[in-house]
């Protein structure tokens, strides 16, 4: 596997090849990714990603906050799927606390999480197609994304940084009319996916730009730690929602789309199929939404209802204590992984028994996926680098944290 270990030292003195700097402000790098390319004519000899431009030290900041104050920080990590980050963090802390959630909270989380996946995939599809030169898809995708962002705004008051989940439940009941709106969207959306596919899947130019491009084998993808559609595009059958279910995913039926070739086109197909599967899960969640509370019965952890706070002394005391001194979490450690739109997102939370986390580490799917770039691109044409970067769907906020 020596070919998988990049030799990143670029030597300009040799004078046979040229070193090209792409980014960090290049429009096709989806954020602030800098890529150093050593090129021989049109061919890429070596490629070396340079990251860290968005590093904000979120892991360090978490150690100085109460457990519940970390939730809004997690939104900012992978800003295209804030609710998946929220979910992964709250699941980890709930596992540390040993909290059991009521079914409605779990189903609502699944519903929101799948809407987030659609939202994220739509941004990916639009920008990826735009990078390769298909302008129209971008406008179509952002039309549907706008609908989803409005739904997020309905439930949480925010379009992107939602922070809608809480440790032990969900912040608020969704407002009146929310489920009707989601149902309306779910009935319209499959025909919209047909529209995207009409524009791309059979399009010969799209095929030429993506088929056989930036290929990676299943063995290489596993060895490099790739996950999500980047791994499934090469035919590895793993989806944490199905294989290691969390938050009630075992109650939902869905297919896990797989690729064969491991090229850009297969990764594209995987994600487009996932759009259809996700809307299926949303539909199931709407149809089977259980009744009941949306918060766990744990007064020391979950904030009381406003009404109770105004009428019951105990509720007021708990509220005051949670806000001012947080809640102690039993010592221990937990690694909770969820299937984010980009792959395995994992939160490793260590507690020392106090009200602040001793250590929070985020396993960023994109960081590992980015490592596949040299294997995909070296020895290939420079024009395909843009297609390869788009196809692994990177979000630099998550890579740099």
């Amino acid at each position: 596997m020596a070919h998988l270990t990049p030799t990143p030292v670029l030597d300009p003195a040799q004078d046979k090849t040229m070193i090209l700097n792409m980014g960090p402000q290049h429009p096709s790098t989806h954020g602030v990714l800098r890529v150093l390319l050593e090129i021989d004519g049109e061919n890429v000899v070596r490629i070396m990603p340079d990251i860290g431009f968005l590093h904000t030290g979120i892991e360090k900041t978490c150690e100085a906050k109460f457990y519940q104050q970390v939730v809004p920080l997690t939104d900012r990590i992978d800003y295209l799927c804030p609710l998946t980050n929220n979910l992964c963090y709250v699941l980890a802390v709930e596992k540390l606390l040993g909290l059991e959630l009521p079914p409605k909270a779990q189903w609502l989380r699944v519903l929101m999480n799948e809407l987030t996946r659609i939202n994220s995939h739509l941004v990916w599809l639009g920008t990826h197609a735009l990078d390769i030169g298909a302008m129209t898809v971008f406008l179509y995708c952002f039309r549907e994304r706008e609908d989803i962002l409005r739904m997020f705004e309905m439930v949480s008051g925010q379009r992107m940084m939602t922070s809608y989940f809480r440790i032990g439940g969900i912040a608020l009941e969704p407002p009146l009319g929310f489920f009707d709106r989601v149902r309306d969207f779910a009935s319209r959306f499959p025909s919209k996916v047909d529209e995207y596919e009409n524009l791309l899947t059979g399009n010969p130019i799209w095929g030429m730009r993506t088929k056989g491009v930036a290929r990676i084998t299943a063995e290489d993808a596993i060895a490099l730690g790739a996950s999500g559609p980047t791994l499934r595009g090469s035919g590895v059958d793993i989806d944490l929602r199905r294989d290691m279910p969390y938050s009630g995913y075992e109650n939902f039926k869905f297919k896990v789309p797989l690729g064969k070739e491991g090229d850009v086109f297969d990764r594209y197909l995987c994600r487009v199929q996932e759009l259809r599967e996700s809307i299926g899960i949303v539909q199931q969640a709407l149809d089977g939404m259980p009744e009941g509370p949306i918060k766990a019965d744990a007064p020391k952890v979950v904030l009381p209802d406003r009404e109770k706070m105004k009428t019951q002394m105990e509720a007021l005391i708990y509220h005051f204590k949670i806000i001012t001194e947080g809640f102690a979490v039993p010592a221990g450690e937990v690694y909770q992984a969820v299937e984010s739109p980009r792959g395995e997102m994992g939160y490793y939370v260590v507690s020392d028994g106090t009200a602040k986390p001793y250590r929070v580490h985020m396993r960023a799917a994109c960081l590992a996926n980015l490592q596949t770039l040299p294997t995909m691109c070296e020895g290939k044409l420079i024009a395909d680098v843009v297609a390869a970067i788009g196809s692994i769907d990177i979000v630099l906020g998550e890579i740099d944290r």
């Binding site: 596997m1 998988l4 270990t5 030799t7 730690g225 221990g332 960081l367």
Partner: protein, 165 residues
């Protein structure tokens, strides 16, 4: 809300596939075990971490073939100060295991597992960058997230949250 107490007895846990394989190979490699909240942690002797990873990856009956994550926890001021943590996943068997290696605070060095999983490259660079742990045999051990000329290791507990400025 009741969490069962962690199990730390090797005898009780030796049916776990990863632990069983390790004990069969070399009982001295296993320093301690913990089964807590449905998660298995095995503390590995520092010099054999690379062999352990290769062994678990190539185990034909139960391959832990995927490295999810490498990270570190600073337990300053207690010694051994650092814990380097590996999260392994078995894709065919859908099972996880956590390996830990404890390192002294004075000069933390550990062998790199990039030769077992090339994907450990960025994870180990990140741990080096933020904790200052050196990985021997790493192909390119440079800072990953912080600037090249940064002084100090930000995720160590003696590093202030606001930084030095």
């Amino acid at each position: 809300m009741a969490i069962p107490p962690p199990i730390t007895d090797i005898e009780e846990l030796k049916s776990h596939p990863a632990l069983a394989r390790l004990l069969e190979w070399s009982p001295a490699a296993v320093k301690a075990v913990k089964f807590d909240r449905d998660e298995m942690s095995i503390v590995i002797d520092r010099p054999v971490i690379r062999e352990t990873c290769a062994l678990l990856r190539d185990n034909p009956d139960f391959p832990f073939n995927y490295l999810s994550d490498v990270t570190c926890v600073d337990w300053s001021p207690s010694e051994p100060r650092f814990e380097v943590i590996y999260h392994l996943l078995s894709i065919p068997k859908e099972e996880r295991v956590r390996l830990k290696v404890r390192l002294e605070g004075a000069s933390p060095v550990i062998e790199s597992v990039t030769s077992v999983w090339p994907g450990a490259n960025y994870f180990e660079r990140e741990v080096f960058d933020l904790f200052g742990i050196r990985f021997t045999g790493h192909p390119y051990l440079r800072r990953l997230l912080m600037p090249e000329d940064w002084e100090g290791y930000p995720l160590r507990k003696d590093y202030p949250v606001e930084g030095y400025r």
